[in-house]
Amino acid sequence: MQAKSLAEILQEHPFLEGFKPEHVQKMAELALEVQFGRDQIIFREGQESGLFFLILSGKIALEVSAPGRIFRVQTLEAGEELGWSSVLGEGGKHFQARSLETVRALAFEGSRLRQLCEQDPAFGYALMKRLLKVVAERLQATRLQLLDVYAPRAAKLI
């Protein structure tokens, strides 16, 4: 059986659903297939990592460290995205990312994606719309998480 091309793999990823074929092709030209073993740190909090990932398989945890402990705040799985802030190119990572099992992903240099957005505004608009959707979903999920809806009423602060 012939292996799928990067463009074919990308076409099937939910992040690029509805993307024009020529835009998928542009993404494919920048994509690098990567793999992480179980319990590998993909990037650390504060680290300047310029990579944006589309996860193909496996599970990744986003973690925040505090003195003496680590909080696991979210997990990401196949079909999801990691490192959206690298596309904005501002500052270091807000979380630590750790693979909980073997992870396959496609990696993209955030700076190259930004360049493409500048050169081709139609591509840039399509990419930013998708990134905004990801950010909005994460924001809503975080708000719901903050509400702590399963806590006993007596334990709630408000």
Partner: protein, 279 residues
């Protein structure tokens, strides 16, 4: 009081058979009639009023198998004086039982379709009878999808059963916790984040939701965004129920009494009332 009113307001004596600790604050009680009476059959989603003598009466959803009506099963979270008293009963103790009351999950409406169950916290308990029903009548349904969220790994109910159900063909069981420790290798995130892991066929899906009301509203938004029709979405509402039969009015929600007209409503019915303040 009329004969009918007397009948629905009178408890039968029932004996506690077993009390199983599910989590640090939640217990499952098995109860059967103390004096040999036959229990009224129940439908998935209905509830009984359970009376702890000298303490108080509580509406508790039935979490057991509807096709094993000879014993009633309840999963109760100990959050107040009456629930604490209930879960502190010992095998052999007698409590009062009234009902079953209320509307049921319309499992018949889902025949030939995918059944999507979305539960949060203790909300899995009233939905467990639906899972039992679908698994007993597996050929009547297409896929069974269970999305279950809890506060933390130590709050997950029925962990052994969740693992068993996930091994049944055409069944997908996804669990998540809002807060996970380092030893937890499962999903972390609110229950709505699980929607990215399932492929829904919106026209062929009937969804049953139970959990805190805020969580249900967020879940409904996900379902609507994916094209599931409001009359294919059902939810179980919670209000302060006292009589269980629509006499006292404590559980009024818009034009409905939750105990009598609910607790299971279609989203079509509930839509005007869900986002309204002070109801």
């Amino acid at each position: 009081m009329s004969t009918l009113a007397t009948a629905v307001m009178t408890s039968i004596r029932a004996r506690v058979g077993a009390v199983v600790k599910e989590t640090h604050d939640t217990f499952t009680l098995t109860v059967s009639p103390a004096d040999g009476q036959a229990l009224e059959p129940f439908r998935p989603g209905q509830f009984n009023m359970l009376y702890v003598f000298g303490v108080g009466e509580l509406p508790i959803s039935i979490s057991g198998d509807p096709e094993q009506p000879e014993q009633l099963v309840y999963t109760v979270r100990s959050v107040g004086q009456a629930t604490h008293a209930l879960v502190s009963r010992n095998p052999g103790d007698v409590i009062g039982v009234r009902g079953p009351f209320g509307t049921h999950w319309p499992v018949e409406a889902a025949r030939g379709k995918d059944v999507l169950i979305v539960a949060g916290g203790i909300g899995l308990a009233p939905l467990r009878p639906v899972i039992y029903h679908v698994l007993r009548h597996r050929d009547d349904y297409v896929r069974l999808l269970v999305l279950y969220g809890a506060r933390s790994p130590r709050d997950l109910l029925y962990r052994k059963q969740l693992a068993e159900w996930s091994r049944v063909p055409d069944t997908q069981v996804l669990t998540t916790v809002d807060y996970g420790g380092l030893s937890w290798r499962g999903h972390v995130g609110v229950v709505t984040t699980l929607f990215r892991q399932v492929r829904l066929h919106p026209a062929e899906t009937v969804a049953f939701i139970c959990g805190p009301e805020i969580m249900m509203r967020y879940v409904i938004r996900q379902l609507e965004a994916r094209g599931v029709a409001p009359n294919d979405i059902y939810l179980s509402m919670e209000r302060n129920m006292k009589c269980g039969v629509g006499f006292c009015g404590h559980c009024q929600l818009g034009p409905y009494f939750v105990c009598k007209d609910g607790p299971v409503f279609s989203y079509q019915q509930m839509r005007p009332w869900l986002d309204r303040h002070e109801i």
